[in-house]
Amino acid sequence: MKVLIDQDRCCGAGSCVLAAPEVFDQREEDGIVALLDPTPDESQRALVDDAVSRCPAAAISVVE
C-alpha cells in the first residue's frame, strides 16, 4: 500500500493524525499534513482507510 497526500488541498484539520498517527503528522510551521510513512504496513490499512474517509479535503489517496 502506498499513501499519497496533496498538501495543496489539505486544510489542516488533523483528522488523519487522529485516525492514523503512525502514518500522518502535521507540519509544525503551518499545520499541513505530512507523511511519516508513505508505505505503511498492511496492519495500518483500516486506520489509513479511516483517515481517507474522514479527511474533509480529499487530500489523501491510497494506491496499491
Binding site: 486544510c11 484539520a13 485516525a19 502535521q26 509544525e28 474517509s53 474522514r54 474533509p56 479535503a57 480529499a58
Partner: protein
Amino acid sequence: MTETMAAPPFPMQRQCPFHPPQEISDLRDSAAPISRMTFPSGDEGWLLTRHTDIRSVLTDSRFTVRNRRFLFAKNQQDPPPMRRGMLLSMDAPEHPAYRKLLTREFTVRRMQHLRPRIQQIVDEHLDAMAAKGGVVDLVEELALPVPSLVICELLGVPYADRDHFQSVTVDLLRLDTPPERRLAAVEEFNQYLAVLVRTKRLDPGEDLLSDLIARADAGEELIDDEVLVSFAFLLLVAGHETTANMIGLSTAVLLENPDQLDLLKNKPELADKAVEELLRYLTIIHLGLQRSALEDVEIGGHLIKAGEIVALHVSGANFDPALLEDAERLDITRQPVAHLTFGFGPHQCLGQQLARMELRVVFSTLFERFPTLELAAPLAEIPFRSDMAIYGVHKLPVRW
C-alpha cells in the same frame, strides 16, 4: 428529474431532546432526502438530510458560503459587508489563504501540549464544585467556564471580560434576536477587540493574538488589524460556546444512559471514543449548515438553481443508516465514523482538536471525581436550547 416534495416548516420540534426531529429522519429515510423548504426568513430553498448529499455539497466549489442569510432571521436584510478574515463567510481562493495563517495553532500536537493545563483547569473547577456541594448547575460550574478560560488563555483575552463576550455571544446565537440587535452586538464586539489588539501591540503576552500581531508587524502578508479582529472574534465565540454546550448536553445524555455511563466509569480509557460518539450523536449545530448555489447544480436528480439556498441537516446526516448501523443508539464503544458535526470540506472546524481535547479531559475526569453524579431535576424540566443556534442545555442541575 425526480419529483420534489416540500418539507415541514423549519425548525421542527424534537420528540426526544437527544434525537433529531422525527420529520428529518422520515424525510431522509423514505420520503424525500432532498426536499423543498421555506425558511423562516421567507426564502425558498432546499433541505438536504443524507450524509452523502451533504458531504458532496460541502466539498463542491459551485456552492458558496457568502451571502448567507441567517436561517432564523425573520426580517430580511442583507448582512453588512463582511470583514476581511471572517473565515466563515469566505470562499476560495481567499479562504484557504487566510485559514492557513491559523492552522498551525490548532494541530493535534499543539493541542496535546495543552492537555496538562486543560486538566488543571478542569480539576480546579471540579474542586470548586465539590466544595460547594448540594445542587449545582453544571453549566455554570464546569461546562461554560472551562472552555471560556481555555480559549481566553490561548488567545490572550482577559478572562475578566467574559461577561461581556458571553452576553454578545448570547445575542448572536438566540434565534429571536432582532437583526438590529445582532448587528449592534457584532459592532460592539469588534470595537472591544480592536482596542484589545492595540493594547496587546504595546504590551504583548505569550498568546496567539500577540503572536499574530508580531507576525503582522514583521510584515507577514494578509494579516492586519481588521483581520486580527475577525480572527479573534471567530476564535473566541466559536471556541467557548460550542464546547460548553457539548459538555452540558453530553453529561445529560450520559446520565440518562446508565449502561453507557457505567462503561465509561469502568474504563476511563474509553473517553476518546466516547467523545467521538457524543459529537456524532448530539450534533449541537442542530439547525445545520447553509450554502447557496453559484450556478445550476444537479444533486440526486434535483435541479438546484443558481442563487438558491441549501440547508444541510448535519444532525440528520449523523443519524443516517447509510453512515452507520444502529445510528439511533448511543454507543460509546463504536469505531469513530466520518460524522459531520465539525462540518466537512475546506471549512471544517479549525478548532476541532481543541474541542476534542477539552471534552476528553472532562469526560475522563468528571465521573471519576463524582461517581454518584445524577440529575437533580427530571429530564422534562431541563431547559434545552431549542431557541439557540447552538443546541445544548441552558442549565443542568446536578447533585452527587
